[in-house]
């Protein structure tokens, strides 16, 4: 259950990035999470929603972009997607690889809610 600790880190980073008081309402927080980052997104969303429920960010959603595990073969130069964690080049079978992506855990941006002032 390290998702709670990850959610706390996300909240801290977002709060540091928002303009000073009064903090604008946040519609969503966009994240990039690698397939091999070991994060259960359902659990992260739940933890995040609990953490923000009593803050000015209450109701903000997480939008998660999943990043596939990609690798570059150092033998034949082929770039390919690693399927089922088989770390071998599908064209030349070499296992001398550089993993290019798949471990990301990044806060990309926040989208603020549009404030519409209703005039009665």
């Amino acid at each position: 259950m390290h998702e709670l600790s990850i959610a706390q880190n996300i909240l801290e980073i977002v709060q540091q990035s928002l303009p000073p008081e009064p903090a604008p309402p946040v519609k969503c927080v966009r994240l990039k999470i690698g397939e091999m980052a070991g994060v259960v997104t359902d659990s992260l969303e739940f933890c995040f929603s609990v953490l923000i429920s009593d803050t000015t960010m209450g109701g903000a959603k997480l939008e998660i972009e999943s990043v596939p595990v990609m690798a570059n073969c150092k033998t034949c130069g082929n770039d390919f997607r690693v399927e089922d964690y088989v770390f071998a080049c599908p064209s030349c079978s070499s296992s001398d690889l550089e993993v290019l992506s798949g471990r990301e855990l990044q806060v990309v941006e926040v989208e603020l809610a549009d404030e519409k002032v209703e005039v009665a």
Binding site: M1, G38, V107
Partner: protein, 218 residues
């Protein structure tokens, strides 16, 4: 619609502290192992055998990570080496700041090899760099040969795999060759050891390999 670009790593705070730990370790020419496994694979038993085998040749120190209790640190007390217990109080992994704080209890000038026993968990510790030189993943034959496929990140990010409890192979549904093949598929450069902390099989191979990783002090 207004958007604020952030582009920051979620675990940047941990990564910064881990980099500080790593710098401290390399300044003292320390080899640091972050030992990870499921609960009950035999991390503390492997530590005991390792201390018995290497204790007279290398200056060892241990950081014990546990969710509750200091039982493991008590088990190691009889070896009279520096041991610091971190109790995470429910936390499922060690983080770099916990290790950083624990380091203030050691005289690092008098240590060659520091082994950090992480909390028993094959998922969460994979994300948290502690500043170690190498992760070593331990698993026991009773856990089954498909374990690497279920926890690929941990096996991918480790430098060595210790397969413990090989003395139980005749009694459990675990095929050693399949296990090794599954682990090597994820990480072809994984160095694999087969041990039994009960019969002491394979302990000297593991310790000899570990000893030659430790820098020789002038």
């Amino acid at each position: 619609m207004s958007v604020i670009t952030i582009e920051r790593k979620v675990l940047e705070k941990n990564d910064t502290l881990a980099a500080q730990n790593r710098e401290l370790f390399s300044g003292h020419r320390l080899f640091v192992v972050n030992m990870v496994s499921s609960p009950g694979s035999g991390k503390t038993s492997l530590l005991e055998r390792t201390i018995e085998h290497l204790g007279s040749k290398k200056r060892l120190a241990v950081i014990e990570g546990d969710v509750q209790t200091d039982y493991d640190a008590q088990r190691l007390a009889r070896y009279h080496i520096p041991v610091v217990q971190i109790v995470t109080n429910g936390g499922c992994h060690l983080e770099a700041n916990l290790v950083k704080n624990a380091l203030t209890n050691f005289d690092l000038k008098s240590v060659d090899l520091l082994i950090i026993e992480n909390v028993g968990n094959l998922v969460c510790p994979a994300n948290y760099d502690l500043g170690e030189t190498m992760k070593v993943v331990l698993m026991s034959t009773t856990e089954g040969d498909d374990k690497p496929l279920k926890y690929p990140a941990m096996f991918r990010n480790s430098g060595a795999l210790v397969i413990n409890k090989v003395d139980l192979l005749p009694y459990v549904n675990c095929h050693l060759e399949d296990l090794k093949q599954n682990a090597l598929q994820i990480n072809p450069s994984l160095k694999i050891f087969e041990t039994s902390c009960t019969t002491r099989a394979g302990i000297s191979q593991w310790c000899d390999w570990l000893a030659q990783k430790v820098p020789v002090h002038p």
